[in-house]
Structure formats: C-alpha cells, structure tokens
C-alpha cells in the first residue's frame, strides 16, 4: 500500500510554463542577471538537499557545508591533478561524498537534537582545518581550476542539479514509502522502531543521500568559480545559509526551501550591490529570522496558504485574543 497525492492540472501547467521560462532565460537576460540566476539555482539545490535531512527527518545539521566543500575539493582535485573531465569528476565527487557521509553518519546519527547539530558542526570545522593543513588540497593557498568561461553552461548545470534534487525530494520524500519512513523517524524514533522500522538504516541513507547532492553541487560550484579555498567552500556560513533558507521558506515542505533560497539569495545580492561587503546583511538576516519564527513559524510557505484563502486560521494564530465575530 502507498500514499497517493498528486499535482493538480493547474499546478502542472504552472510548473511546465516555469520550466520553459527557465530554459529560455540565458537567451534573454544579461550575463549579470544570469549569474544571479545560476546562484539561485545552486542555493535551491543546496537548501533542498539540507531539507531532506533537517526537514523531512528532523535532524538539524550544521555540518552540511562540509559535504559541499568536500564535493568541491574532490571534483577540483580530480580535474586539476588527474585531468578528468568535468562530469566524470562530478559523478565521482558525488559517490565519494555519499560514502564518506555514510561513514560519518554512523557515529553522528546516534546523537539527536542539539547534540547532533553540535556534532555535525564540529565535524565540519574539523574538515576545514584538515584541508587547511594538507598539501594535496593546496592548503591555505586554495585550489585553482581550469577556467571555463561559459555562463550558459553553468546556468544549465546548476538548473539541472536543482531540478534533480527537487525531483528526488518530490519522488522519494514526498510521495513514497521511503518518505513516510523518514517522516516517522522525525516524529517518534522509538515508536518507528517498535513498528519494525530499521531506523538506523533509514537515517544513514537520508544523511548520505542529502550529503551526496550537496557534494555534487559543491563540485559544480568549484568549476564555476574556478578558485576554491577552505574559507570559501568549507566556512560555517555555507551550512548556516542552508539552514536559514529552509527555515525562512518552510521546513519540511517541498517548495519552502525553493522560496527561501530565492528570497535570501536575491536579498543578499541586492544588498551586496547597494552597500558592498558589509555586515548589514547579517543584521537584516537576523531580524528577518526573528520575525519569521515569531509570526510565521512554518515559514513563508504559510503566507501562500493565506493567499489560498485559509486566512482565518492564520489570523487567529497571529491575534489569539481576537473574537471570531471580528474576523
């Protein structure tokens, strides 16, 4: 038996049209806008991959940036030192990140809640320090990849990857037996085990799978940016942004990470253009997070629900003292 829910025809048409628009994008917009669009795609993919672990399974990781950085370094090293083609390097980076995460997951997934968050964070920090001292990674010098100056190419790579992660989230996490098992782990792990679920296996799979996607995207990022450094691909801000994007958009939903990634990345770029490098972005980000958590605990996705006409429930929640007759 399985659970069946599917998209309505209207939604399918909207989805199809947006796909067409997104495929035509490189041919109508300036290269500046295209680079921002590529960045959005990358972050959509990353936020969706984090959401598999943090949203559907409820394991909040602050170490997901390590998978991104690991993928970036593996792909970068394969391309510069073994001169492998880009897509082959990307594939190997994905596989190795998967294996690596499965090994790391075995001890860390025994932790839960904030202990898991701290454990993964510590692990990511360890990775950064390791890459800094190793010579094979270039250490603090960073790693320079062969440049490939084709904006359209990278846009389509990131778009394809975001689409892939989205489809995996949709097929395996929203609409499958596996997704139900993952959600059961989030809701009540012990109860799930009493029902005969091998929660250790489920947890390890989700951890490895979501890390793998972050790793592949990291590999693509390395080739796109052509220069990677421990601070740029293994810094804590990478993981932090994934967490915040998902929280902002709506944790544990399919479209939440997409919306969160778009809003946050566009906001970030806008401020960069307006004020240059400053800490104003972080301050406004903090304020935005406070507001969202206070008034829209389910993220911006719950705003969509307001538009869909479920106004009352939300208003009641915002103004608990209000009488029914006033609404």
């Amino acid at each position: 038996m399985s659970i069946s829910k599917s998209f309505s025809p209207v939604k399918l048409i909207i989805l199809f049209l947006s796909m067409v628009v997104l495929c035509c994008l490189p041919f109508v917009v300036s290269s500046f806008v295209l680079r921002i669009a590529t960045g959005i795609m990358m972050w959509i993919g990353l936020a969706l991959s984090w959401n598999m672990l943090g949203g559907y399974m409820g394991y909040i990781s602050f170490g997901h940036g390590a998978s991104f950085g690991l993928g970036a370094y593996i792909a970068g090293m394969l391309m510069t030192q073994l001169h492998l083609p880009f897509f082959v390097s990307l594939l190997i980076a994905g596989i190795l990140t998967y294996i690596f995460a499965a090994l790391v997951g075995y001890p860390t997934l025994r932790l839960s809640g904030s202990y898991f968050a701290i454990g993964t964070w510590a692990f990511a920090e360890m990775m950064r320090q390791l890459v800094l001292v190793l010579t094979i990674t270039g250490g603090p010098e960073g790693l320079r990849l062969p440049p490939m100056l084709n904006d359209n190419f990278f846009y389509f790579v990131m778009f394809g990857l975001a689409l892939l992660v989205f489809m995996v989230a949709y097929l395996f996490f929203e609409h499958s037996d596996f997704g139900l098992k993952v959600k059961a782990v989030r809701e009540e792990e012990t109860a799930a085990r009493t029902l005969g679920l091998n929660t250790t296996w489920v947890k390890n799979q989700v951890f490895a799978l979501s890390s793998m996607f972050a790793g592949i995207i990291g590999g693509a990022f390395a080739y796109w940016i052509t220069f990677i450094h421990p601070d740029s691909v293994l810094g804590p801000l990478i993981a932090d942004q994934m967490v915040i994007m998902v929280l902002l958009g709506g944790i544990g939903t399919l479209f939440g990470p997409v919306i969160g990634a778009i809003v946050l990345y566009v906001g970030n770029q806008y401020m960069l253009v307006m004020w240059g490098q400053s800490s104003a972005y972080l301050i406004i980000l903090g304020l935005a997070i406070c507001l969202v958590i206070l008034f829209l605990p389910e993220g911006l996705m719950s705003l969509l629900r307001i538009l869909r006409g479920r106004r009352r429930g939300i208003i009641k929640r915002l103004l608990p003292g209000m009488k029914k007759s006033n609404i």
Partner: protein
C-alpha cells in the same frame, strides 16, 4: 499450553540505579498477563528490555523458542512482538492512515495486509472516520486505539501494552479494556503493564506484582484480587 515468552533473571541498570533486579516470568500463548506495581517498580523497564529498547545488563528473553535478548528492536518487532509504548508514541504529523500503513512495511504477507486493515477499522470505527486526520489531533482514547491498531498492523500476535489507561477518562478506559479482551479472544497474547491494578486484574488471566524491580507476588489474577496484602497495597484495600 505452550510458553510463548520466557523471561529469566532480567536485570536492567540505568547508571547506578538498578531498575530491575533480576525478574523471571513467562507468558503462555493466548494469555493476558499483567504486571502491576507502583511508579518506579520497573514495569516499563521490563517491557523496554523485552522489546530491545534498552539493553538488559543480564538475563535472557526467549520468544517463540528464540533468544531475542540482544536483538535490535526492529528485528524483534518483525517476529510478531509489538510494543505499544507508554504515551502512545504517536507520529503526530502523519495521518491515521499513514500511521497504520507505516506499520505494514516490514510484512511479507501483502495479501493479508488489506484484510487486517479492514479488521482494524472494524474494531475501531472512529479511526476509520478520521483516516485522513493528523494523528496528533485525535483525542487520547483515539490515539490509544490507533497505537493498538498500529501494533496489530505489524502482523504481531503478541502485544506489549504499556499503561494503556494512562491519562484517559474512566469510560474510555473501560472501552480500551473491552478491546483488549476482544483481541485476546481473537487469539492475541497480551502482556499488560498497568498502574490501574483493579482493572488490570479483572482483565488478565495471571498477574505479577512488581516492587522495587523484583517480583513480589504472582499467581492467578482472580486469586490476587482477593489477597489481603495485595488489596491493602494496590487496590485501595478494605
């Protein structure tokens, strides 16, 4: 009758606290056995040690002539032994139906799953009415029914029920115990842990009384009800 479960010198230690100091008991196939005792007597620890949720520090659990003492809990569940945890263990954001479906994933007898599902809905019509509702929105009694229904959907023939009456109104408690009796008549073996000693003794065939992690008394439930010592300590004696 054949013994379906045998527990031998089971000992559970949490840090420096000995929750179970080596208890032994058995359950025959088709029986309702109850373990009663005060808070902290070791009732829940017993169930948790049987279902593999905590590792016993020593002792043995045999189920259907197999040693399951150190098996992981999901494998124990797959052998037909289902633990309905204290507090009902609801997967609150999942619907009633999803809760039930989830319990069937470990089964191989797919043909019987549908039959069992219908049976659960027949036993608990209220669950059928609320199929599509999030299980967190059910009332306490409905949640307990879902927890039991879910255990049945795993295909279990033996149920470990941990305080099914907890936090429920007397009328609902009565209903739940009716269900337990009905399930037993339908062939399920039941190990029932309860603080509500009177109701438990009235439902069960045999009983064990636990105090400070050891078996104080055991025997037929009917005998224990009239035992003056039990009366005084657990039944608000007269």
């Amino acid at each position: 009758m054949t013994k379906i479960m045998e527990v031998e010198d089971l000992e559970v230690v949490y840090g420096v606290i000995k929750a179970l100091q080596g208890i032994s008991f058995y359950i025959d196939e088709g029986e309702i056995v109850t373990i009663i005792g005060a808070n902290g007597a070791g009732k829940s620890s017993t169930l948790r040690a049987i279902s593999g949720m905590v590792r016993p520090s020593s002792g043995k659990v045999r189920f259907k002539n197999k040693d399951i003492t150190n098996s992981p809990s999901h494998l124990i569940a797959r052998q037909g032994l289902s633990h309905v945890p204290e507090g009902r263990g609801m997967l609150t954001k999942l619907t009633v139906e999803e809760n039930l479906i989830l319990a069937t994933y470990n089964r191989k007898d797919h043909a019987k799953v549908k039959e069992d599902m219908e049976e659960v809905y027949k036993q608990f019509p209220r669950l059928s009415e609320r199929k599509k509702q999030a299980s967190g929105n059910l009332s306490g009694g409905e949640q307990q029914m879902l927890a039991i229904g879910r255990a049945l959907m795993t295909g279990a023939d033996t149920l470990l029920l941990d305080e099914p009456s907890m936090g429920l109104a007397p009328l609902i408690v009565k209903e739940i115990f009716e269900v337990i009796k009905r399930l037993n008549q339908a062939g399920k073996t039941i190990l029932l842990v309860e603080q509500n000693a009177m109701t438990a003794l009235n439902t069960a065939h045999r009983a064990y009384i636990l105090e400070n992690g050891a078996v104080l008394k055991s025997g037929l439930a009917a005998d224990l009800i009239s035992d003056p010592e039990v009366k005084a300590a657990y039944l608000g004696g007269h």
